[in-house]
């Protein structure tokens, strides 16, 4: 008489491996398509470049108007005029 459970483990293992690989590949494809790693590194770099260039957290183009050299260093014992 044949064993009715013969080969069941193989079938289940095949299904599990298929499911596992499908999930992994779907996940990595999602990460690549959404450019999550690029957004994690190159996204903040724009702010870092602004800080390096202008001393302001923002893109270099935006930060130029916020450069500390724009700050008024005028001082007077009588205070600024209203």
């Amino acid at each position: 008489m044949r064993n009715p459970q013969s080969g069941q483990i193989t079938v289940e293992a095949f299904l599990i491996v298929t499911l596992l690989f499908s999930t992994v590949f779907a996940g990595t494809r999602l990460i690549r398509d959404q450019q999550l790693l690029s957004r994690l590194v190159q996204g903040p770099w724009q702010h870092l470049a602004g800080m390096i260039e202008n001393g302001y957290w923002g893109s270099p183009e935006v930060g130029r108007a916020k450069h500390p050299n724009h700050a008024s260093r005028h001082g007077s014992p009588e205070g600024d005029r209203p």
Partner: protein, 192 residues
Amino acid sequence: MSLKRTLQNERGILTLDFVFASMLVFGFSAILFSFAMTFSIVEVVQYISFASARNYSLAHLNSDKQKERAQQKFDELSTNPVLTPMITNGWFSLLPVQISDFNDEYSPSTDSDIFVGVRIPFSAPILYKRIPLIGTTGNSPDGFQANINSFLAREPTFIECRDFIEQRAAQLNSLGYDFDPSSVRIMMDNGC
């Protein structure tokens, strides 16, 4: 091997786990290392720009001489044997230094033209990495650029001072006072 023992057999799962985990750990460690190196080199280049701007700011015979002194300082520091390996191995790169007046690039609302100094275009291709399965850290190695600036302004040169004083003397002479213009002697001190 019985069915029960087959289901309990976990040999190899640790290797598989290690492969995936080590790939991610090494990938993110490389990114953190790259950022640490980038910040260190940015600090060094920031000092180079500051030292060059300081040489540019000091008075000299004319503006070309001031630029020449700044360029000399930049060349001296950027070719230092400690720094050279870092900017020639492909991790970082410095484009030719710009020594100029950058006021036009900044907000015109400022009433003080102090955006004069040195700019060093800096690039960090080290931050561009391709990690297996999850992609790249940027669009291209050229995507990580920044300008490193030092704006220390510039003192007037000897020729600019002389021209200014001669122009002022000519205007005083043109006021019509009763004296011989040829008797006027211009005496320059150490500044304008």
